[in-house]
């Protein structure tokens, strides 16, 4: 018990305390130990208030804290109710105020597609897969602050597949030493595009290379992620995450009923993704930006001895001259991936790369081009040829934004693959509408 108390005390002393008052903070003047410490070390991490207390004071404080906690347990009511909030409610005191509701956004993506043949070269779960109208997705996005320690974000997606949970995770706000953790259902930060949602894409459909190598829903699952912003002169952020792979990621032939004899101590972590990434960024002046990432992942499978090793690198270069009409920019992005799949039957390798150029002409118009190539030993199900299957896809589109909340995109794509008899042409017209409050995306 004493050890647990000491551990709790040490942990609490590492975490920054939230402000003591909820009123207009900068006009009132509560004595705040944090303020004095922060003045002395502006360039370092926030100092712990307890760091300078000597051992005797520490012991006294610890005893007092334990005492207070015990008292609080006996006095705290079962449900904490804030009487002040009720008086604002339109429900007349029965329902909590809606002023603290999360930010809600509704994002709809609908497309009209036309393909020149069956089996189009599309790898994303929300890509148009056949000619005609398709509701790519309707996303309900919820974001909010939980308390001074966490924020959360969730997005529910409805599409032809049904209603599914895209992401639902909490993010820490006050871990020390530049750390930050996320936990929940999340898209991992493998590469640049995996963690993005369709409304942040520069193309109607997802990447062919990422869809084939990371999965049709991307590298996603329930798990936890830890990242740290290193105290270096330039932006360096290592990220690690472990997620239990989504149901969608299972191979078709792996679906089996689980017998008692099959019980696995690791449970769903047997089919998990462990990833690590290193993100770096350099501002090359006011107008130029360069971001570089390195990612690796180990995807284990339920089958003993079977796993995927993924290695990837990504580069993003953006030129945005600041000045009159500063919405114009040119962005160049590339991701290269290598996957080594080890299976009972042997090993196979896939190598893929994507290159995209987005030219934002002004705040209303953009044109974009993307080329992707994937050389893999895994053809589509049913492919009976031998040797690596080379797939290539080139796309060109133009986008109109009447405002930043609505978007119309016309896209043409040409796909050529060894396991397709002839090239596949694709023409898509996509409309996206964003209503409500949606937070900013990463750069």
């Amino acid at each position: 018990m004493a050890f647990a108390n000491m551990a709790l005390w040490w942990l609490l002393s590492q975490v920054e305390a939230p402000p003591a008052t909820e009123t207009v903070p900068h006009l009132s003047a509560p004595a705040d130990v944090e303020g004095a410490d922060s003045a002395s070390a502006p360039s370092s991490r926030p100092a712990s208030p307890a760091a300078d207390a000597d051992a005797a004071d520490l012991a006294d404080l610890q005893a007092a804290l334990t005492d207070d906690e015990q008292q609080a347990h006996t006095q705290r009511p079962a449900a904490a109710v804030n009487p002040a909030a009720d008086t604002w409610s339109a429900g007349g005191g029965l329902i909590p105020s809606s002023a603290l509701n999360p930010a809600i956004a509704v994002i709809g993506d609908v497309a009209l597609a036309s393909f020149s043949g069956p089996a189009p070269l599309q790898a994303g779960a929300h890509d148009p897969q056949e000619s005609g109208f398709v509701l790519q997705q309707l996303e309900l996005s919820l974001q909010g602050a939980v308390d001074p320690y966490f924020t959360y974000a969730a997005s529910l997606v409805a599409s032809a597949h049904g209603l599914e949970l895209e992401e639902a995770y909490g993010t820490t706000l006050r871990l020390p030493a530049g750390l930050q953790a996320r936990a929940g259902q999340l898209l991992t930060r493998f590469g640049r595009q995996n963690a993005t949602h369709p409304h942040a894409w520069s193309f109607v459909d997802g990447s062919l290379v990422l869809g084939r190598l990371l999965g049709e829903e991307g590298q996603r699952g329930v798990g936890a992620e830890l990242s740290v912003l290193l105290p270096l002169p330039w932006y360096v952020e290592p990220v690690v995450a472990v997620v239990a792979a989504d149901e969608h990621e299972h191979d078709d032939d792996a679906a089996q009923a689980l017998q008692p004899a099959d019980w696995a101590p690791l449970g769903n972590l047997q089919h998990a993704v462990a990833m690590a990434a290193l993100k770096q960024f350099w501002p090359l002046g006011k107008d130029l930006s360069l971001a570089w990432g390195l990612s690796t992942a180990l995807v284990s499978s339920e089958h003993a001895g079977a796993h995927d090793e993924l290695y990837a690198t990504d580069l993003f270069f953006k030129w945005r001259p600041l000045g009159a009409g500063d919405q114009a920019s040119i962005g160049l992005e590339t991701e290269g991936l290598y996957r080594r799949r080890v299976d009972v039957g042997g090993t196979s390798q896939d190598l893929g790369a994507l290159l995209q150029l987005v030219w934002q002409l002004d705040r209303h118009w953009a044109v974009a081009a993307r080329y992707e190539v994937l050389s893999g030993e895994l053809g589509q199900p049913g492919y009976t040829g031998d040797g690596p299957v080379l797939s290539q896809r080139a796309q060109l589109n133009a986008t109109l934004w009447p405002t930043e909340f609505s978007r119309l995109r016309l896209q043409y794509g040409l796909g050529v693959a060894a396991d397709r008899e002839r090239p596949v042409h694709a023409l898509m017209l996509a409309l996206e509408l964003v209503a409500g409050a949606h937070g900013a995306h990463r750069f």
Partner: protein, 313 residues
């Protein structure tokens, strides 16, 4: 031997450590940085996240800005959702609890200002990119600047009690400079009180209210929408009919259309800087000096060139 070497190394590192300012202040808008510099003086390191040549609504949340925020003791924002499109990403990524909203190191300057353009009825985006809490473009108003500078001095005094008297002194001298400059500016603009002006974006209400001017129309048909031919034609008709003498816009908006409208209507176009160019040694009073002079000259009939006068650089 090794011990001596490591001693020399330690001494070398200590000796080469640069003198540090007591506090690191980061602001979003350049005007807020100028006010922080005026109040903080040499005791603070001040940086603005947004270049004055940049539209503060649309800023790329470039990751290196997170580094600046991670080391800040005080973050001063404009508020009223001006920075809502990019600041939250940077704040989350900066992992600095000192400057999170609600902390002592977070100063929302919109709470210090008497807000204008607060919608009386429910708003939605069919009215354009509206700010539901009120108009956030108040940093150009000397009235607001006085209140904000006072709050900055109080915030700095709480974070750095040893420098509190210095901040009060700096605040007093800034207020004196601002008062005498304000008297001068109002005198300069007095002959033109009540003049009608057209503004590009709805970012001038605080300034024109103080200066005694009246904004009668906007080049943007709705907030955030680029001018379209129909609206521009209507604007031109109105400007000719009412003999509006002046168009005001910030340097980060395109000037081709407004230049044309100015030529055809006989009005003058004043393009002002988006904020104080602190990096070039500019300060708040000098910035407003140039702006007031440019406006006064433009309003005086035939006294100044049509475009690029005064405040623009």
């Amino acid at each position: 031997m090794l011990r001596i070497l490591s001693l020399y190394l330690a001494l070398g590192l200590v000796a080469s450590a640069p003198a540090r300012a007591a506090l690191s202040v980061v602001t979003t808008h350049a005007d807020l940085a100028a006010l922080a510099r005026a109040v903080g003086g040499e005791r603070v390191e001040v940086a603005a996240l947004v270049e004055p040549t940049q539209d503060p609504h649309f800023v790329d949340p470039r990751p290196h800005l997170m580094l600046q925020l991670s080391r800040a003791n005080l973050l001063i924002v404009v508020g009223l959702e001006l920075e809502i499109g990019w600041l939250p990403t940077l704040l989350t990524g900066a992992r600095n609890p000192r400057i999170l909203p609600g902390s002592e190191g977070y100063l929302d300057s919109s709470t210090l200002v008497e807000r204008r353009d607060v919608p009386a009825a429910a708003v939605d985006r069919s009215q354009g990119d509206v700010h539901p809490g009120g108009n956030p473009h108040f940093t150009r108003s000397p009235v607001a600047a006085r209140h904000i500078a006072g709050a900055i001095a109080r915030a700095l005094g709480r974070l750095d009690p040893a420098g509190a008297s210095t901040y009060r002194r700096n605040l007093a001298s800034f207020e004196r400079a601002l008062s005498s400059a304000t008297a001068r500016w109002l005198a300069r603009l007095a002959p033109y009180r009540g003049s009608r002006v057209v503004a590009y974006h709805r970012s001038w209400v605080y300034f024109t209210e103080w200066a005694g001017l009246e904004v009668v129309d906007f080049v943007e048909p709705k907030p955030g929408l680029s001018p379209d031919p129909g609206h521009v034609a209507q604007l031109l008709r109105r400007m000719r009919q009412d003999r509006v003498p002046l168009i005001l816009q910030e340097e980060y908006y395109p000037a081709t259309t407004t230049g044309l409208v100015a030529d055809k209507s006989g009005a003058r176009l004043v393009r002002c800087q988006g904020g104080v160019h602190l990096a070039e040694g500019d300060d708040y009073v000098a910035y407003l000096d140039r702006l007031v002079e440019a406006i006064a000259q433009a309003l005086a009939a035939g006294a100044a060139p049509a475009a690029g006068a005064g405040g623009a650089r």
